[in-house]
Symmetry: C2
Subunit: 204 residues, 2 copies
DNA sequence: AGTCATTTCGACTATATAGTCAATACGAGA
DNA sequence: TCTCGTATTGACTATATAGTCGAAATGACT
């Protein structure tokens, strides 16, 4: 007897636990891509994840908590797409353009991700506010440099986000044209009254 | 006895019936402005409408049918805002601009309507397709006149709709600036690469 | 006041979904 | 093989929602 290493025991379970949690999270991701959280049932999740009902409640307190976890994961995916750009591009419009294109390319190549983002855009979540905050920072900087026709930053953000979201919706319903991303980006820049970033960056 | 006029009887009930149906429709409109149809329950509707459950099923077969009726009513409200413009404005860009502004003004002055439209934009309904069809017709005509930079009509439609929807969302969360509508319209026209309509709208 | 087609009501049964918990399975180390 | 902390299971109770239906109310007309 004697030695009962609690920490070790917890460690042991961790892998199995993490795997099951990931299963549930993936199932939730898939389901939340096609319906709003209000219409998501625990039964549907456990069936899709292939686990028992009790297991769901062992990992999450409620559907809302699962939805929050999915939202957090989604937020990370956005950060992943951005980190490279944020450091290397000093020009705010170039940064904005790069991010816009990155996100759009991702949406076109990963429809489930795209559907999830579109669904999430309905009820402003934490990650959505983060994205908007970054965008507004870039827009403010560009505006301070006198490079925008739209001086209202909130409106400018709505223009960028609005076009992006609707173009993504369009790409989910119709086949996306090959030059859709650059076409959409140009439209955004024209809408903002911003000239395209000077030199060609890695945008092309 | 003798005379039992069935047609007359039906006519009698009509007024009461119409009133109750309108109550349910209004309640459904209010509730669908704040949640998606998948999350709407019959109990919630009948409570909001102040009628018994059986009454709901006497008028509608299901929540989906109610949602469709609300959608149809919404479609009519769009048509009402358009009919004046459609006949009097021969210029497609002027027409588009007028409609955009009309819809935006309506959204700003009627938040419930705005919320309902935003909610409805998630799952493309019949009326949404109608709006888009009209828009595409105007855009096609303008493009045929060589007045657009965006030649892809689907993309052009997504730009207009996307900006509109997101600006409406913004106006629901923040206070709308006084010149929001014209600012947004100018952004749309720039995005499309269309010069603003000539001076007076009454002339081509 | 009486008649009767129409409308409304709400109690009732079905079913679906939420949330709990005692029992079981798992698996690394003794 | 056995122990024991952790993870998983699924049957079970609660509650919520769907959908039905006989009874009651309504009101124009006689």
């Amino acid at each position: 007897m004697a030695k009962i290493d609690a920490a070790r025991r917890a460690e042991i379970g961790q892998e199995k636990r993490a795997r099951t949690r990931a299963q549930i999270l993936d199932a939730g991701t898939m389901l939340l891509a096609e319906r709003p959280p209000e219409a998501l049932t625990v039964d549907a999740v456990v069936e899709a994840a292939g686990v028992a009902k009790g297991t769901f409640y062992y990992h999450f307190q409620s559907i809302e908590e699962l939805a929050a976890a999915v939202g957090a994961k989604l937020g990370e995916s956005f950060d992943d797409l951005l980190t490279a750009a944020r450091l290397e591009l000093p020009d705010p419009i170039a940064r904005l353009s790069f991010a816009f294109t990155q996100f759009l390319d991702k949406a076109i190549s990963d429809p489930i991700w795209a559907r999830l983002v579109v669904q999430s855009s309905q009820a402003p979540t934490e990650f959505a506010r983060g994205i908007r905050a970054h965008l507004k920072a870039d827009l403010t900087e560009a505006n301070d440099q006198g490079r925008l026709s739209v001086h209202d930053v909130e409106l400018a953000a709505d223009i960028v986000i609005g076009i992006w979201l609707q173009v993504v919706r369009g790409s989910l319903e119709r086949r996306a044209a090959s030059d859709l991303a650059s076409q959409a980006l140009n439209a955004v820049l024209r809408a903002l009254g911003a000239s395209p970033p000077m030199q060609n960056l890695a945008v092309a």
